[in-house]
Amino acid sequence: MSNNLSHEDIAKRFIEAKVVDFGAMGKFITELGPVLAVSDSGWHGINLGRFNILACMLPPADVTRLVGNLRTAALTASVLEGAAEASLPK
């Protein structure tokens, strides 16, 4: 498919696609579950373990949850602010 899809091309494609029950397809895909997102091992999967030098990346396991309520999330910062220099581990 060309990168330069015109408005007309887009319209044509989804008009033709209307023979499909998108609701049923959506339900079916939802029931299949997020297989790929959860099972993605990817490049970092190969490198987990002792050699974990993947700078600037968070593996998917780290972001399976939403941040959620920001007031609750603020607990993390208060814990870090409360960590006095004098009490740092030897």
Binding site: A17, L58, A83
Partner: protein, 424 residues
């Protein structure tokens, strides 16, 4: 147009550097092991390399005393960890990974903290016949070239262009269904190809085209409350010296607002019930181990944004779509997740009008996330009506509907019989 207060950007960068000092203190020797969630653990090499990159990026603002003192202190803290026996042995045993292990050493050298004997050893190891005996995707290949050029002082050669042409900066990235690894490749390529903003950008396609993709990715990761990737995507504008688009300027506002409300740019991996249960050092270790990385991303972003002419605007200004377009699109936008809605509501009407493309991207992202393809269908129709459907995400959403339609035909879930379907 008024721009973001530089003192505020500097304060955010210093906050990230202060987090870095704690991170090195806690994790530079033994890393972080999480007995309840082993996947959250990491070795010491990770925070060491990330901290080295952060202070390298921050060094562009070393003319600011508060930044300079922190960069130098962190460099001195990193030195013993960057050139340990463990690092030397790792390089000796795995010369194909030598440059990865040597990232902290090379960045410290660039910052003025050299070590000639380590250089001598590294020179020996990278001359090994197996130095290229590792399968590297284009982003990893470019990372290696970047750090190698920093070490040797050589200018980028033709190999850079080959990697960039084969990368997701050239090939359209899958905005709707792509993996986080692919998004990281996209964002890291900006870091390496611009040397964290120290060099002019080398891009395989028109910058405007690639930034159009970045805008779509931004919507996806703001919707996902993934501020790590949202922050890294935003780097595309200051690192390439591009003027902040309305979507990018709004994205920065959202991240800054979230950071202000939380005290740190948050990540969704923190189990707050567990955080409350823990005590003392274990509580701090857990908080820091789960939170430091996203805090660093804000540091990278503010470091880049402090570059000359790269400060984001405070107000959102851009071309206006017809009023009715935005109001019709907003009917498709949900508020079940994400922290951008209140920031959007606080905008003036004209600012909202200039974010029509952001809202369009967000509507498509949300409906695809929920597999509500009927709604995606309607959104694309609406976008076509207003001549706003030529963005990367609209094209990819249309293709997605086409594939789902085809899939449905094969699976015989369509409402019509096979004869009603367009023949291939």
């Amino acid at each position: 147009m008024s721009i973001w207060n530089e003192a505020d950007l500097e304060a955010r960068l210093c906050h990230a550097l202060d987090i870095a000092r704690k991170t090195i203190t806690y994790f530079a020797t033994t890393g972080f092991t999480d007995p309840e969630s082993p996947a959250h653990g990491f070795g010491p090499e990770k925070p060491i390399a990330e901290t080295a990159m952060l202070i390298y990026a921050a060094s562009a603002s070393a003319h600011r005393p508060s930044v300079e003192s922190r960069v130098n202190e962190l460099a001195r803290l990193l030195i013993p960890h960057a050139r340990t026996e463990r690092v030397l042995v790792d390089i000796a045993l795995h010369p194909a990974l030598a440059f990865k292990f040597a990232v902290p050493h090379i960045l410290l050298t660039r910052l003025g903290y050299a070590d000639a004997s380590f250089d001598e050893f590294l020179r020996l190891c990278i001359s090994s016949q197996v130095r290229n005996g590792q399968d590297r995707p284009p982003s990893a290949s470019l990372e290696r070239k970047w750090i190698s050029c920093l070490w040797t002082g050589q200018k980028p050669d033709a190999g850079w262009r080959v990697d960039l042409l084969n990368s997701v900066l050239n090939w359209p990235i899958d905005i709707l269904g792509g993996l986080r690894d692919d998004a990281y490749a996209f964002t890291h390529l900006f870091m390496y190809s611009t040397d964290f903003g120290f060099q002019p950008h080398r891009l395989p396609r028109r910058r405007a085209t690639i930034l159009g993709v970045a805008e779509s990715l931004l919507a996806r990761y703001i919707d996902a409350e993934d501020y790590d990737l949202a922050g890294e995507v935003l780097l595309a504008w200051p690192l390439t010296g591009a003027a902040w688009s309305p979507s990018a300027a709004f994205g920065f506002r959202v991240l800054a607002s979230v950071e202000d409300q939380v005290g740190i740019l948050p990540c969704g991996n923190v189990n707050h019930a567990r955080l409350i249960r823990l005590e003392g050092h274990e509580r701090v270790r857990y908080a820091l181990g789960t939170a430091y990385h996203t805090a660093y991303v804000m540091g990278f972003l503010c470091a880049a944004a402090l570059g000359p002419g790269r400060v984001p605007p405070t107000s959102i200004a851009g071309p206006q779509c017809r009023n009715s377009c935005l109001s019709r699109l907003m009917r498709y936008v949900d508020d079940d997740q994400g922290h951008w809605h209140s920031e959007f509501s606080s905008l003036a009407e004209r600012e909202k009008g200039s974010l029509t493309s952001f809202v369009l991207n967000m509507a498509i992202v949300q409906k695809c996330r929920k597999h509500d393809y009927g709604a995606v269908n309607e959104i694309l129709t609406l976008a076509c009506d207003y001549c706003s459907a030529s963005s990367p995400i609209c094209r990819q959403a249309a293709e997605l509907l086409e594939r789902i339609a085809s899939c449905s035909v094969v699976m015989r879930l369509g409402t019509g019989d096979g004869s009603q379907v367009r023949a291939k």
